[in-house]
């Protein structure tokens, strides 16, 4: 007697197709990491310029993420809980940075924050500049990676049954207290996941950053500069380092965020 197939033929085909795609991602990564010898790698990475640009990149992405957290989480909550006129328009506006070319985003930002820009001119007279400095990098990263945080936070607020907030209110908690004691603890994983995603996206930003602030160089600008100026082999060690760091961050956040997902599901669903 033949045993019933546990894995259908369709699923075998899907597995094969999926593996092709995974290899497409994996091979360039591995090839890049192993392209330079350990010595070349150490030499390229030990370079002060590389370390400095790593610091600048991570710091700018971090600041951008914190700003997005403070301004984006309240917006995400409103988008998740309320229906209002023009909501889909606002949703489109939030997601706009995803679909426009990032160089275009850089140009648009220059119009506002550049030395002759709408805000830039006024701010420059106060001694505040947004070009060729950390603030410029932050602005560029914030603009292009904001949707990742807001969308993820919104999703996680939607997944928290609003009746939980209602019950908290009947038990004597005010709106702020219910948000702090019920909504936030149940949504924070999603918000943290969104923040990490946004931070990582910020680190990898090139287009907008290079237009607003070529210097101080972020890692992506540095890689481009070395590639354009000294060729492939000069760009390799930095690229390899960035890839390794990105991989590490991804693995770590998955490890921290995933295991306790289960309990939260209990709080989801139900009538709204």
């Amino acid at each position: 007697m033949k045993r019933a197939r546990v894995f259908s033929r369709m699923e075998w085909v899907f597995t094969f197709v999926g593996l092709l795609l995974l290899l497409f991602i994996l091979i360039p990564l591995v090839a890049t990491i192993f392209a330079s010898s350990p010595d070349e790698f150490a030499e390229g990475v030990g370079d002060k310029g590389v370390l400095r640009s790593l610091w600048v990149t991570f710091l700018a992405a971090f600041i951008a993420t914190v700003i997005a957290l403070l301004l984006g989480v309240p917006l995400a909550y409103l988008m998740a809980r309320r229906e209002f006129l023009g909501k889909s328009l606002i949703q489109g506006l939030i997601d706009l940075p995803i679909i426009i070319p990032h160089t275009a985003a850089g140009v648009a930002l220059l119009m506002v924050f550049g030395r002759r820009g709408l805000l830039g001119e006024t701010l420059a007279s106060a001694g505040v500049y947004f070009t060729e400095n950390l603030a410029g990098i932050v602005i560029a990263m914030l603009f292009v990676s904001l949707p990742l945080l807001v969308d993820t936070a919104q999703e996680s607020f939607v997944s928290v049954d609003r009746r939980l907030e209602g019950v908290a209110r009947t038990l004597g908690a005010g709106p702020w207290s219910a948000f702090r004691r019920v909504t936030l603890p149940l949504a924070w994983r999603g918000i943290v996941a969104g923040s990490v995603l946004m931070w990582a996206r910020g680190i990898s930003e090139f287009g907008a950053v290079v237009i607003l602030a070529y210097n101080p160089k972020t890692v992506s600008v540095l890689i481009y500069e070395r590639f354009a100026g000294f060729g492939l082999s000069a760009a390799l060690p930095v690229t390899a380092l960035l890839l390794i760091l990105a991989l590490l961050i991804l693995v770590l956040t998955r490890a921290v965020l995933l295991p306790r997902r289960k309990r939260e599901r209990a709080g989801q669903g139900g009538r709204r």
């Binding site: 049954d161 009746r163 939980l164 209602g166 019950v167 908290a168 209110r169 009947t170 038990l171 004597g172 908690a173 005010g174 709106p175 004691r181 019920v182 603890p185 149940l186 289960k262 309990r263 939260e264 209990a266 709080g267 139900g270 009538r271």
Partner: protein, 404 residues
């Protein structure tokens, strides 16, 4: 204790309209209605989670219409528990401020914050857990608990703040049969013990009859009838309510003898199918355009009847109808016997015991014991005795709410 006055609430396309509903202090009130009748909307409005477009809500002497939920003091329990999944049972229970007896010199019922930590060990939490039989669960998370356990926790959480008003939204509907019965008894015991004012909404007739001191029937966002459970079950005001209270035999009425020519206790009616009956109860029907007779299946008595020789007929005023069993359905608690009338014009059953096809069918509830004692089978000739007081007249279309 609770009074709703001219309340109008909109929720999406749905609208709820309650002109007047009062619940006395300590009363167990049931709002009974089908799904989508607006029961949850009503509770959420009373709790303060929804704002009415019009009308007022009173808790005793205090108007709470404009007060936010946290200041109303209404405990809310949902059908699917809605426990805080990230908190332990003890933390769930103590989420609100747990009320202790007031110390001397301070107003009774004053809320006293109990601080955080070691919640499971506090005497007031222990007492509440003991009351609901969940002492063993205090340190667990809601996720692993059974439905009955979760609902007990939800009740404990709502009771912990000593709410003036306890709002229960189908609290038993998600539970399995035995747990539901158990918790139903528990609710009754809690209500008697704590003397809380309870507003409990349900679509379950048994629940409404077993728990309610007052039953308000809500259909399509409107109150149709308010009364005692017995009053609503036996004297539905209209056809929709009659269906909801499972009045199994509903017949359109052709003519009603006017009340002036006969005392209300025994009106003579003729059904549209030609059958004549004595009807006892029924409110003044006013100008209802259609009248229906509602006869509960459990108020009809069945007797075996020999068409050939036969016992003498009782007085004609007793509503005696002869027929044959046409179907038998065995249920868990009783047996539904369908009886088809033999054509009364002929006065006798067709020769050969053939089943008359065109007779009016009645549903009658009998016990299994009765079924066996009388040897009832499909085809058995039977006589139905219907007390006139069990023939209830009601309006076909919704009428104005009647308070009985």
């Amino acid at each position: 204790m609770i009074r709703l006055d001219g309340l109008r609430v909109r929720a999406g396309d749905f609208s709820l309209a309650i002109d007047d509903l009062s619940i006395s202090a300590g009363e167990y009130a049931i709002v009974f209605g089908p799904t989508a009748a607006g029961k949850t909307v009503l509770l959420e409005t009373v709790a303060g989670l929804r704002g009415p477009r019009e009308g007022r809500i009173w808790f005793g002497e205090r108007e709470v219409t404009a007060e936010p939920p946290e200041r109303r003091g209404a405990g809310l329990v949902y059908q699917d528990y809605v426990l805080f999944p990230h908190l332990t049972v003890a933390e769930n229970i103590t989420f609100g401020r747990v009320r202790r007896p007031a110390p001397p010199g301070r107003p009774a019922g004053e809320r006293i914050a109990v601080g955080r930590g070691r919640r499971a060990d506090r005497p007031e939490v222990r007492a509440l857990a003991a009351l609901l039989g969940i002492e063993g669960l205090l340190k667990r998370y809601p996720e692993g608990l059974s439905g009955g356990e979760q609902q007990r926790v939800a009740l404990a959480r709502a009771l912990a703040t000593r709410p003036e008003v306890l709002l229960l939204d189908e609290p038993l509907s998600a539970l399995d049969g035995p747990t539901r019965l158990e918790l139903r008894r528990e609710l009754k015991r809690l209500h008697e013990g704590l003397g809380a004012t309870v507003l409990h909404v349900t679509h379950d007739l048994d629940e409404a009859l077993a728990l309610g001191q007052k039953v308000a029937v809500l259909i399509g966002g409107e109150l149709r009838q308010v009364g005692t459970p017995e009053g609503v079950a036996r004297s539905p005001v209209d056809l929709a309510v009659a269906r909801l209270v499972k009045s199994a035999n509903l017949f359109a009425v052709a003519t009603v003898e006017t009340a002036s020519s006969a005392p209300r206790a025994s009106r003579r009616i003729v059904l549209e199918n030609g059958l004549g009956l004595s009807a006892g109860t029924g409110q003044a029907l006013g100008h209802a355009d259609r009248v229906y007779a509602a006869i509960r299946a459990d108020e009809i008595t069945l007797e075996p009847w020999e068409p050939a020789g036969g016992a003498a007929r009782p007085a004609a005023s007793e509503n005696v109808l002869d027929g044959r069993v046409s179907a038998i359905q065995i249920q868990s608690a009783y047996v539904v016997v369908e009886v088809r009338l033999t054509p009364s014009a002929e006065g006798a059953v067709a020769a050969g015991g053939a089943q008359p096809e065109a007779g009016t069918a009645f549903a009658v509830h009998v016990s299994r014991a009765e079924l066996e004692r009388n040897g009832l089978m499909v085809g058995t000739p039977v006589r139905m005795l219907i007390p006139p007081t069990s023939v209830h007249l009601c309006a076909g279309a919704p009428s104005r709410p009647v308070v009985s």
